[in-house]
Symmetry: C2
Subunit: 332 residues, 2 copies
């Protein structure tokens, strides 16, 4: 079983996933791994993945056979496992916990060569709807406190499979990212009695210099203090702390702005590897006045991401105002 | 002039270094950049770097000419600049600051093909002595609060030059990494009245399972909750909050343990890209009872470092006890 371990100085939790590759030679082999060949996410290969937990389909085929538009399956090499009890334990001054959780793969399209940015709206909206459906379902399991939904695109961003997919990890702790955001936004709220993200949206729509694009429901900006060149945030314009609160029209608008933003990014830096992460309130949390759900999209531009991820100290060579200018010009 | 910007939610500072590459096309070009050719860090090319601020030499050549063993020069493309005033300014809800600071390159050897792990002890000790000398010198400039000393080795870890070098950035703010460490260790100290790092050292030397190697002065361990496979920490065994407090014997011992640790790592995963970062107390700080200086060495194993750097949520496939076992076997 995987293990969750806490850094005694920083309080940061780490997943030790022993079941994955671990010996020094594994890292050497991974580098020379070749692309192409068999794809476990393609239609016809349903039996090579664990049984699906969600399936969108316009035809009536049985589960785990072809004919689907979108599938969600448990990760074959999960970082956390679903069965077991949440034992917490000390080890001298250290703290650890059983690695209980869920790790799922959202297979976004049956077409192997259709990348996320190429998904037609009817497929893209399925992706966003499936995130909500899984969040709602997993929130019923009271062992879990948070579900992190994310996508790695391109090997430079950590993707090991070519076929378009995103992932989610349901975990028994709050990740550091959300702990810090909740604390930071609460401290702003206590001082100003306003949501800091709502204030950001107000200032950005007024100044316009960091706006990439927008529609009635959503705003896409390059954030004021971006860690990475061409980093983008997509925020709902109306205050909402939880992703699962959205209605159908909002999902349509999210599909539209996400497609446009990713196309603009791809136009600027063709085929750039990226990660995106959904930032939303903890599972079963009351609506929060101080928190505002959003997506953060981080292009992975190798030379930049040197030691920054280990230190929290970022050097960004592209002012977000410049990045937004490039991103706004579709035919740059 | 570069700009320091603060994220309004997280309080994280970012350097916007406009002077560096910034257009979308710059990122595309960087990828295809070829290795080899002219090296600005090699002897004979001293005039192509800014004038040296420190030089170790066993012969008496004039500054900025060959004959040196180690040189420290300002970075030609600095993330922060030395001239100017520390203006702080608001921009609506955002905060920014002039990008005042120093960004220097420590050229560790005149030999282009001698990598850090191959440095003979008399060169390696120069590197560690030069860190101290620059820390002491830069602490006289009261605009600076912290000096971050680090090394990127290998393109995968962000190094843009092959010739062995490390870097330092003197900055007018405390980086998030050190703020969190100071806060975390202080909170432990308030509760236990002991330094958390001293407690870690006690437990690790007793348990031995995560010890890579040690000598009279230093301990090298794989930390209990490592972000990266084969992450290593090198800590002085005696309590000390500041790197600059070390005496000569301690520098010899540091040289010995660093060489051994890096050789062991290189033996496990030949030529692995890595970053190391010196964690030490802020400039001009009193000796701190709760803080303990140390080095953190992070191998950069691509498939792992996916979206983790953006979220603070790490999945590590190699338990540190396993890593330590491999690292201890020199002839594995």
């Amino acid at each position: 079983m995987p293990e969750l371990r806490k850094d005694p100085v920083l309080g940061r939790w780490i997943i030790i996933a022993k079941e994955r590759g671990k010996r020094p030679t594994d890292f050497i082999i991974e580098k020379s791994e070749s692309k192409g060949g068999f794809c476990p996410l393609c239609p016809g290969n349903e039996k090579t993945t664990p049984a699906e937990v969600l399936r969108y389909s316009s035809t009536s085929h049985p589960p785990n056979t072809p004919g689907w538009d979108l599938r969600v399956v448990p990760n074959k090499y999960p970082a956390l496992v679903i069965e077991g009890d949440l034992d917490k334990e000390g080890d001298g001054l250290y703290d650890k916990m059983n690695g209980i959780g869920a790790h799922e793969v959202i297979i976004e399209t049956p077409n192997h060569n259709e990348s996320f940015v190429q998904l037609p709206p009817e497929r893209m909206i399925n992706v966003f709807l499936s995130y909500r459906e899984r969040l709602v379902d997993l929130s019923r399991d009271h062992r879990f406190k948070y579900v992190m939904v994310f996508k790695n695109y391109g090997r430079g961003a950590g993707a090991s499979l070519e076929h378009s997919h995103s992932q989610l990890v349901a975990m028994p702790i709050l990740p550091r990212m959300i702990v810090s955001e909740l604390a930071g936004s609460l401290s702003y709220y206590r001082y100003k009695e306003r949501c800091v993200f709502c204030d950001i949206i107000r200032q950005e729509t007024k100044q316009e210099i960091r706006v990439v694009c927008q529609n009635d429901h959503f705003l896409c900006i390059t954030p004021y203090a971006p860690r990475s060149p061409f980093e983008m945030w997509i925020l709902p314009k109306y205050h909402s702390s939880s992703y699962i609160e959205q209605d159908t029209r909002s999902f349509q608008a999210l599909t539209a702005i996400f497609t446009e933003s990713m196309l603009r990014l791809d136009n600027c830096i063709p085929n750039v590897p990226y990660n995106f992460v959904l930032h939303t309130s903890p599972l079963r949390s009351e609506p929060l006045e101080h928190y505002h759900w959003h997506f953060e999209i981080m292009p992975k531009l190798t030379k930049i991401a040197g030691f920054e991820w280990g230190t929290g100290f970022y050097i960004n060579p592209t002012p977000p105002e410049e990045a937004a200018k490039y991103l706004r010009k579709l035919d740059y």
